[in-house]
Symmetry: none
Subunit: 199 residues, 4 copies
DNA sequence: AATGAATGAGAATTCATTCAT
DNA sequence: AATGAATGAATTCTCATTCAT
């Protein structure tokens, strides 16, 4: 009578860890199975294919960000500055975390583009990310500027995350986080004209 | 048929195209061979392994950027504004080009991190990119600001390139290019205090 | 068909047969697989590589000799003559057997020398062979002579086994076995001086 | 106008060296070509196939032994002892020589057995070896004993050569050579009865 | 004579997936 | 639920051989 050794969530998290470390294509079902203490055949009880597992992993990350990162944007009890700070500080923490890590931070994007179904999920993730950031800026800026600031901030974050990986140096991401946060503070006092020209 | 069908350069360019489209891990030597009209064994005449071929591909892209993109930064006959414009405009063109395309724009970074030898080559590419951009900013700003502006600009470019891919929409990259170019013009007239706080 | 078709031992023995017939380098994993009624990929369930399989094969032969051949040397209930006879008679039987056969009799030595890990295993086999033969001789002769007799006997056996193969004629090995056995009988009655000079 | 870079003999000798070091199956035509400073295609000007090259190599070794080793057996100007000594001393020198080396000493026998045409050539080599040794013994012993002594001596030489390789220790072969030589000296004075029983 | 490009068959190995137990 | 044996297609790479120049 085989006892249940793991649950779906465990497998998803182990797979996430491996996909981040070694990328989707470099991670075999065997790798995932042994990380879970299972035989590879057993994974197919939980997921019908490697692709479906990957989709669940992407969704898991998305959910995690929704709950732990993007949510800060909608916390009306805080000031825009505070919300922005919480959002980017928590994002940074997740991106640099070795466990949860940024599957969608940058790693995985390449992979995602290979499989149309993945691409859609990744798009949704970034749309939520944009939306959250934009929501905060809307408290201070008109639509157009909020939109641009959001796009720019997320792009900078993603780009500097990539550099942090390539150069194996967290400071790229950390500096970017700081810069984005200082921007809202300082800019807040600047007059509209400067805002529109500078950004 | 022992008649020469292709040359090394052709293979490198065909491989580049495929690596961009399908990523390194998803592209087989067979794929590359047939793209070149060769049998797969024949590739090994030119490159001792898939890894060596990839290294040549990365170097090819790097050289292309040196010659066609980064070089604009060092053209002392132009104003900083012009140089920046030429650099980012040409970069944008290459990144969005379907042929030459941005193997190192974003695609390939994931792959690169899997293979230490690739990672080193990718690092060199980005260091050259940084250096070129920073060189331009140094004509207008002190070291520290130039450095930060360079880091930020390249990060924004990379991040928005990723969005352009994910959303299959060139405008992310194009808007970023525009924003970076307008920044140097407008900022130039702002006073030092603002410069230091805003960036 | 996920039903077990073979076990490790079967594969080892099939591989042994093929390695003897066609040598290690001339035998493909495909050959072994089909001899076992498996697809070639399936072999990798049992052995991580062809080399590891070969090592198991060498060890299998070694164990077989230990149990069925060398063991006679240590059977203190028999006379030295009887032990020697049993040892070489059983060795001969194994060497000439088409199934178990002499992977290490001579075949395989060439191969073994190509792969350092194999070489070590082959050395151990011959050291055990030497030791067994020497142990018998020690019952009748002083150390030095026992040692030399053992070395010589094993060398003669190996050399004549090679001839038996090259000329496809068992009598080389059979004559050598006879000669070695007659030597201990006759020599036993000769006086020490002759022993020392003749051998 | 392509100039002749090598001659057949050079290729044969380079191939011999490689076949000894790495065995026939582990040596590629490419290896041989580069050892000769040629491209692999060029080898086919001299030999229609790898097999034909190997045959020439075996014949070369055979000829070398005929001229430099076996010939001593037929030098009627020397005593049997001297002839035996010269034959085995020169054989030992060749077997242990890193250049000329014993392709047929033991290495290569395995390979030879794979290809019927090689096997025949190897048989001829050993028949000549036997014949030479037997010719010497016939000067002192009757046919039957001479035959047996020859078989035994050559078998011992081959067996101990194998050990010298396996244990990477020349002394096995050297001790065997000494033993064979001392045998003819000492035995020569023994009376017929002992001769017939001891050997 | 020499080259070197090209071939195509075949090698070892990997891996997602299936399925009887 | 879990196993682990089996599959078969795909992958990287090797190599003897051919042949136009």
């Amino acid at each position: 009578m085989p006892k249940q050794k793991v649950d779906e969530q465990t497998i998803i998290l182990e797979a996430l860890k491996l996909f981040r470390q070694k990328s989707y294509f470099n991670t075999s079902m065997s790798d995932i199975a042994s990380a879970c203490g299972l035989q590879k055949g057993s994974l197919y009880h939980y997921f019908p294919s490697k692709e479906e597992l990957m989709k669940k992993v992407i969704k898991e990350v998305h959910e995690f960000f929704k709950t732990n990162v993007f949510s800060h944007a909608y916390d009306k009890s805080c000031s825009p500055q505070e919300r922005l700070e919480r959002l980017f500080t928590s994002a940074e923490a997740v991106f640099l975390d070795k466990e949860k890590g940024s599957l969608l931070g940058n790693m995985g994007v390449e992979t995602a583009l290979m499989v149309p179904e993945f691409a859609e999920l990744v798009r949704r993730f970034f749309m939520d990310f944009f939306h959250a950031v934009k929501t905060i800026y809307l408290d201070k800026y008109p639509e157009k500027i909020a939109n641009e600031l959001a796009e720019r901030s997320v792009a900078e974050i993603e780009g500097s995350l990539m550099f942090s990986r390539v150069f194996n140096d967290h400071s790229y991401l950390k500096n970017t986080t700081k810069r984005i946060l200082s921007r809202i503070d300082k800019v807040a006092v600047a007059d509209k004209e400067i805002k529109e020209t500078v950004f």
